[in-house]
């Protein structure tokens, strides 16, 4: 018989307001095996923990039940507490009477009754608990960063600077991500390329960093400290070791009509291309969708002009297998497609552009060489209308339910730059709210209004009508109480941002969870913002939620710090709750082996005592505790009931069921 101590936490008034903690501890004291029961204001506080430890000694407790917040919150805390008092950590069970009781019920009687039942279930389980010891598994001291934008670059640099090897996998031919397409950055207006490209070069030259550009993660196996990843290097039809990046091929290629993705299709490039001058690695790539040689076998101009002999039309996708201790997701974002918002005539007029397209039109390396010209006729626009929240903050199917966060600031930046470069332009910004909660952000927005004379109008654009070379904008001015009709030359739409489309399949590969908007979820929204709930997976940048550059960099470094903390360890404590076969019951049928997702189950021929002093050789299942992750699939698959899961045994769960249904 166990000697059990019950500790009921008030959690201030969080629990005590809807659960009669005194009564709960009294009732639970009557349960068989309970030798001590008490309640306290904050069980997780120093005093509370000391009380638990004292009680363990005083009453010689062999099991502890703590009725408190979710085990996801403080299970580890209380286990440590008890361990220090000499009790095995797995002799502690938590009854979740906060998240799953006091917070969801309003009535004291109901809450108390339920808390008692939850406490009983935990007591019933502790009766059957056994001390467990965790094994150790080694940590592969290498990190993988998926995505080579500013988030991925920063994370990789920080990890590499700490002395660990890092691989960056980037699906585009160059690293740099969205920031390469941006002209200036708010709120300081420094040039994005000037601050980004040195970092790109740093990453490329760092001896601890290896960049797989034009590559994608194909498969992920394993677990924290020990991931096996297959990386697909897409055929770029150019030998990376030979190409010098001279760019001659990109000038001579006869296929000139390829929409230039880097400039968002605002101009054309060749079928063989280097995305932009400062690309890293600076290696040409052939666009197989447009290359005449690859499509019809006739051409070969690039091969002829390449003095390095780097062109290889026969190149195929190659696969690389690598082992990692930690994986960082930095897959970033994209602006949404605007076909659902054609009241703004985006598909009807080239002069209606997205903010990212506008960024290219303002960029010295963009299609217009940095002079703001209308895409339709190359004329200088004199009236520009900016529309914010296009597709953000929408109800259900209309768009994204969240605020895209960066639009207010970049729109203020665009408006300010327009007025600065072209003081003769009239600039209107239609806003619902202006959100500027960042250092020097509101000051920046106020400058746009006060110093640069941007017309900020509280209201929204309802319809854009392209007619006679103008854009007739019909909008509301809610503060002025009127409907405005503006003849604009350009309309710029601040499109909502969404996670990259590769994020969802990647999350599945990593078994990392996502929210309904396909942003990765963090392990804790406040306290663990850069970790995925899946151990060993870390989050960097906009893949976790909309972020501007300063925030992205901060999160990237935070993720790096977490990775470094992990890679510093030589081994990790394994989950002790692993499967365990009862060899006497096992008949070696292989059912368990088939369902094990980790290949943790093998078979061994073992000698057993048979009848009449004979010896029997039988095939029985063996579980490798370092590999077993404790899902329990095998326990249910086992037809003879030989397989059980430590910490969540059949008996323990049944005891909980009995206690609840009692």
């Amino acid at each position: 018989m166990q000697r059990i101590g019950v500790f009921v936490c008030w959690c201030g008034s969080n629990i005590a307001a809807t659960v009669d903690v005194e009564k709960v501890s009294q009732v639970l004291a009557q349960e068989p095996g309970v030798v001590f029961s008490t309640n306290y204001q904050y069980m997780c506080s120093q005093a509370g923990q000391e009380m638990i430890q004292e009680s363990i000694h005083k009453y010689q407790l062999t099991g502890v039940v703590i009725c408190s917040c979710s085990p996801r919150m403080h299970e580890a805390t209380f286990r440590k507490t008890c361990e220090k008092a000499g009790l095995n950590a797995h002799m502690v069970e938590i009854a979740n009477i906060r998240e799953q009781c006091s917070w969801i019920h309003k009535d004291m009687a109901t809450g108390t009754e339920k808390a008692v039942i939850l406490g009983r279930a935990a007591i019933a389980k502790v009766h059957l608990n056994a001390p467990l010891t965790a094994g150790q598994s080694p940590v592969k001291k290498r990190a993988l960063v998926i995505g080579g934008g500013i988030a991925g670059i920063q994370t990789a640099l920080d990890i590499a600077d700490a002395g660990f090897d890092v691989d960056i996998v980037e699906k585009q031919p160059t690293i740099g991500g969205k920031m390469t397409q941006i002209d200036k950055t708010f709120p300081t207006l420094d040039c994005a390329a000037c601050i980004l490209t040195p970092k790109m070069v740093d990453a490329a030259q760092h001896e601890k960093i290896h960049i797989y550009s034009y590559a994608e993660v194909e498969k992920v196996k394993g677990f924290v400290g020990n991931f096996q990843v297959t990386i697909k290097k897409k055929a770029r039809y150019v030998d990376e070791t030979k190409c010098t990046g001279c760019g001659l091929c990109t000038e001579k290629c006869p296929q000139k009509k390829v929409p230039n993705a880097f400039n968002l299709g605002l101009d054309n490039r060749r079928a063989i291309y280097i995305p932009f001058a400062q690309a890293v690695p600076k290696i040409a790539t052939i666009d197989a969708d447009y290359c005449t040689m690859l499509k019809s076998g006739k051409c070969g101009v690039c091969s002829k002009v390449c003095t390095a002999g780097a062109i290889d039309y026969k190149q195929t996708d190659t696969y690389i297998e690598e082992e990692y201790g930690a994986i960082v997701v930095a897959t970033g974002f994209n602006p949404i497609k605007l076909d659902k918002y054609d009241e703004f005539a985006y598909s009807q007029s080239p002069d209606v552009v997205t903010s990212l397209e506008f960024e290219r039109l303002m960029n010295a390396a963009g299609p217009t060489g940095g002079t703001l010209l209308r895409p339709s006729d190359g004329a200088h626009p004199h009236t520009i209308v900016f529309v914010q929240c296009v597709g953000s903050r929408c109800d259900d199917e209309k768009g994204k339910p969240y605020c895209s966060k960066i639009c207010c600031m970049y729109t203020a930046k665009h408006a300010m730059l327009c007025r600065e470069k072209y003081p003769d332009t009239d600039v209107y910004v239609f806003y619902i709210d202006v959100r500027t909660p960042g250092k020097n952000f509101d000051e920046f927005y106020r400058r746009a209004v006060e110093e640069y004379g941007v017309h900020y109008i509280k209201g929204m654009v309802g319809k854009v009508v392209p007619q006679d070379g103008k854009l007739k904008v019909q909008a509301s001015d809610l503060l002025g109480g009127s409907q405005l009709h503006i003849e604009a030359d350009m309309v710029v739409l601040a499109a909502a941002i969404e996670p990259d489309e590769t994020a969802r399949p990647l999350a599945t590969m990593l078994t990392a969870s996502m929210d309904t908007n396909d942003f990765f979820t963090e392990a804790h929204p406040k306290l663990r913002p850069v970790e995925s709930p899946t151990a060993g997976i870390f989050l960097s940048g906009a893949c976790q939620g909309p972020k501007d550059i300063p925030e992205t960099v901060a999160q990237a470094s935070a993720a790096a710090a977490k990775v470094i903390g992990l890679l510093c360890k030589d081994s990790l404590t394994c989950n002790p709750c692993t499967a365990q076969p009862d060899e006497l019951m096992c008949n070696g049928c292989s059912s368990c082996e088939k369902v094990c997702p980790y290949g943790a189950i093998t078979y061994a021929d073992k000698e057993f005592r048979g009848p009449n002093r004979t010896t029997l050789l039988r095939r029985v299942a063996q579980v490798n505790p370092a590999v077993c992750q404790g899902c329990g699939a095998c326990t249910v698959a086992c037809p003879s009931g030989a397989m059980d899961l430590k910490g969540f045994s059949n008996q323990q769960i049944m005891a909980e069921v009995d206690a609840i249904c009692r």
Binding site: S70, P71, R72, N96, R98, E99, Q100, C101, W103, I104, H105, K106, T110, G111, E113, K114, I117, L118, A121, A507, T508, T511, S513, M514, D515, T516, T521, P533, T534, C577, V595, P597, Q629, G630, C631, G632, A633, T635, V636, A637, L645, F648, N650, I653, M654, E656, V657, D658, I660, C661, R662
Partner: protein, 146 residues
């Protein structure tokens, strides 16, 4: 119908540790109400749910059993919820055959971010059980409370 008026169903919710238990916590954090009849048992993965547990619950007087796990494709252990889905499909049709109505058993995918869905599911499920009334089929009368 005094039986139904005083009927306080016992509902056992098995929640996987990674998604649904966290989803249940989130509905608590957001103070979303659902009936106290629902009691949650934490299991590492939905595939840990042995059909025996479900039978045991009904035998001991549970009126409804619900299993919550990660969404298909999102299982922390990659494939666990697929096993669970297959097993429960079989089990539930067997139970139906035995007279435990379909409405008393349910599988629902609730992610760690879906606190609202968890609460809504529990409200809905409890309402269904309330309509179905007490489980009389499999309950072991020797286990009866009153």
């Amino acid at each position: 119908m005094s039986v139904t008026e005083n009927f306080k169903p016992t509902i056992v919710a098995f929640c996987c540790n990674w998604c649904s238990y966290a989803g249940a916590d989130l509905s608590g954090t957001n103070r979303l109400q659902y009936p106290a009849n629902v009691k949650i048992i934490r299991i590492p993965c939905s595939c840990r749910l042995n059909p025996m547990f479900v039978l045991r619950a009904f035998q001991k007087g549970a009126d409804g059993v619900i299993l919550c796990g990660c969404h298909p494709g999102d299982c922390h252990y990659t494939t666990g919820n697929y096993y669970a889905r297959r097993r429960m499909t079989l089990l539930f049709s067997l139970l139906d055959f035995m007279g435990i109505e379909r409405g008393r058993t349910r599988v629902e995918w609730v992610s760690a971010a879906e606190g609202a869905k968890f609460a809504a599911t529990m409200n809905e499920f409890t309402e269904t059980i309330m309509k179905l009334g007490p489980n009389r089929r499999l309950e072991d009368l020797r286990c009866r409370k009153d």
